[in-house]
């Protein structure tokens, strides 16, 4: 009885738990990537304990892959050697850690997964309790298989009606963040539900749960349903909230939403696109663990088709994973991007965190489909970062300024 989180933990632990309880629980999988992995390995080694379970430890190279500096190559070497030493075979260099976790079905409905990356909340889109931890916590999981959780209170986002044409999960999430504030769900679980969420694909649900951490949530969750189980291939489980006691319920009327843009310098500085359209852009980035999936690339490709990007605006497209890349190739999207003049880079985090390609300079403006617009996030602290959906990003790349896709002239 309770929220999705309470239902899930009660089922896993074999006894009823409630928000506020502190529990120690075994996790299904512990994940780290090329930047957080080496510190987790150091933490693990300092314990001098045998490894918990090599088959349930996952490393991904994505933040600086392929290595762009000697220091990055050194991080990769440390992880590779650790994996050889401990016979860990889940070492992947095929895209963003979170998409690889989904592609390889390492996060499952009803599961508990921890990752040394804040956007580990993404897997909640499949009904998996997933949260980001630091390297020391993950290093301890490498040794014990367990970590401690305080069962979080839950904020329910109830989305009534259907999203209008041209409005996506990204717009919904940005709108909710604006209502809640950047720390509005601090320490809470966020449950996304209602008609609009029930109608969403897994890709869109992953976007909602990905962005849950960006207003402070410990996890984001969508109740798993037939759409989930078709995607995950696992046995159906029932995590329907039963007489839940929510800390807060936010009701959103989906029909009224417009495309949203989070404006420099914070994610809760969100505006209807009409307020910021026309703002000139030096760079557009389409990708990331928020919006680099196949359906995102499909939307961008449909807008790019038969058009070319504005000469002022360098445009970077990064498929979230090798799986997404291959499907985008088959569907012709990659060719469309290349013909439009966009740069298509290898699967991974891309320009999101200002550490490899696509770094922005002082005074520049960039529109990104990613999740963070903190000053300095994508390069110079004097650059301005705008966050929006792939549709807005693609339309804006074509005109060289923030643009509502609905206002584009038809292709002649």
């Amino acid at each position: 009885m309770g929220t999705i989180t309470e239902e899930l933990f009660s089922r896993r632990l074999g006894h009823a738990v409630h928000a506020g309880d502190t529990v120690i629980a075994e996790v299904d999988v512990a994940m780290a990537h090329d930047v957080t992995g080496p510190l987790a390995i150091e933490a693990y080694r300092s314990l001098d304990l045998p490894l918990w379970d090599a088959s349930r430890i996952v490393f991904n190279f994505d933040h600086v892959m392929p290595a762009n500096t000697v220091a990055a190559a050194e991080l990769h070497r440390v992880i590779r050697e650790f994996c050889v030493e401990h016979s860990i075979t889940n070492l992947f260099a095929e895209g963003i850690c979170h998409q690889v976790m989904v592609d390889r079905r390492l996060a499952q409905p009803g599961g508990i997964v921890v990752g040394a990356d804040s956007h580990s909340t993404t897997y909640g889109g499949l009904g998996c309790f997933a949260t980001g931890l630091g390297s020391t916590d993950i290093g301890v999981v490498f040794a014990t298989g367990k970590t401690w959780f305080r069962i979080p209170k839950t904020v329910r986002i109830e989305v009534r009606g259907a999203l209008p044409r041209g409005v996506y999960a990204k717009d919904l999430a940005l709108y909710v963040i604006a209502q809640m504030g950047a720390d509005g769900a601090d320490y809470c679980a966020v449950e996304w539900g209602g008609e609009a969420v029930a109608a969403m694909t897994v890709d869109e649900r992953l976007t909602l749960c990905n962005l849950s951490t960006d207003f402070g949530a410990k996890t984001g969750l969508v109740e798993p349903d037939a759409i989930t189980f078709e995607h995950s291939g696992g046995e159906p489980i029932d995590l329907h909230p039963v007489r839940p006691d929510y800390a807060r319920t936010l009701v959103v009327d989906a029909e009224r939403l417009r495309p949203q843009v989070a404006v420099h310098p914070s994610i809760d500085n969100v505006h209807d696109i009409d307020d910021v359209s026309g703002t000139p852009l030096d760079e557009v980035f389409i990708g990331s663990c928020t919006n680099g999936r196949l359906s995102d690339l499909a939307i961008a490709a449909s807008i790019f088709s038969g058009r070319t990007v504005h000469p002022r605006t360098r445009t970077v497209v990064v498929p979230a994973s090798r799986g997404v890349y291959l499907e985008a190739l088959s569907a012709g999207y990659i060719e469309t991007f290349a013909l439009a003049g966009a740069l298509v880079l290898n699967p991974g985090c891309g320009p999101c965190l200002g550490r490899q390609h696509g770094v922005v300079g002082p005074g520049e403006r960039v529109l990104s489909t990613s999740n963070r617009n903190y000053p300095g996030r994508m390069g110079s602290p004097d650059a301005q970062i705008f966050l929006a959906s792939p549709a807005v990003a693609a339309a804006s790349a074509l005109t060289g300024a923030i643009t509502d896709p609905a206002t584009l002239e038809p292709v002649s």
């Binding site: 502190t22 529990v23 120690i24 930047v35 957080t36 080496p38 510190l39 150091e42 933490a43 300092s46 314990l47 933040h63 600086v64 500096t69 220091a71 990055a72 050194e74 991080l75 440390v78 990752g115 040394a116 990356d117 804040s118 580990s120 980001g132 931890l133 630091g134 390297s135 020391t136 916590d137 290093g139 301890v140 040794a143 014990t144 367990k146 401690w148 305080r150 950047a182 720390d183 601090d186 320490y187 402070g216 410990k218 914070s266 965190l353 200002g354 550490r355 770094v359 963070r372 903190y374 000053p375 300095g376 996030r377 390069g379 602290p381």
Partner: protein, 169 residues
């Protein structure tokens, strides 16, 4: 321990504490030198052991990168005092033994450069003109702080001590 206040605002992100371009390393001294490198360049140049960081809401929001609290700890600050902390930063700080104190008013009452004395275990912040009562870690976080770090706690008997406590409570 007494020291000087470095006053910061609301929403200081891990990208401000440790920008992505600087954390491609686990070298503690490199991390120390990059702490707040763009947001507060004078920090590393002038910080002394015992100084404190005082900030507003949602300190440490963003990435799970433990490099951020590690870089602060390596500068030997006595504590980070904030109106509120982002969840992962707070947990990371506790895990590595960086003292953190929640205090709703400190960033409004204290000024940059003020001399303060901080008791990280009680949360008491003493200034030339008065005392502020902050909230130190409690529950599991306090147990980790008492052990020194999460690694120290696990070394002394694994999760069993905490599991014992949970059954009793």
């Amino acid at each position: 321990m007494s020291g000087r206040v470095f006053l910061l605002g609301d929403g200081v992100s891990t990208d401000a504490i440790m920008p992505g371009r600087y954390n491609v390393t686990t070298d503690p001294d490199a991390l120390r030198r990059s702490c707040l490198i763009e947001a507060r360049p004078d920090f590393v140049q002038t910080v002394q052991p015992g100084d404190v960081i005082v900030a507003g809401r949602n300190f440490g929001c963003g990435s799970s990168r433990e490099h951020a609290p590690l870089s602060i700890k390596r500068n030997a600050v006595a504590a980070v005092i904030a109106a509120s902390f982002a969840r992962i930063f707070y947990r990371n700080a506790v895990n590595i033994g960086l003292p953190v104190i929640r205090c709703a008013d400190a960033h409004r009452v204290l000024r940059d450069g003020d001399e303060v004395t901080v008791d990280a275990l009680t949360g008491m912040i003493t200034t030339a003109t008065g005392t502020l009562h902050g909230e130190p870690p409690s529950g599991v976080a306090l147990r980790i702080i008492e052990a020194g770090s999460l690694i120290d706690l696990i070394r002394r008997g694994g999760w069993s001590a905490l599991e014992e406590e949970r059954r009793v409570s």
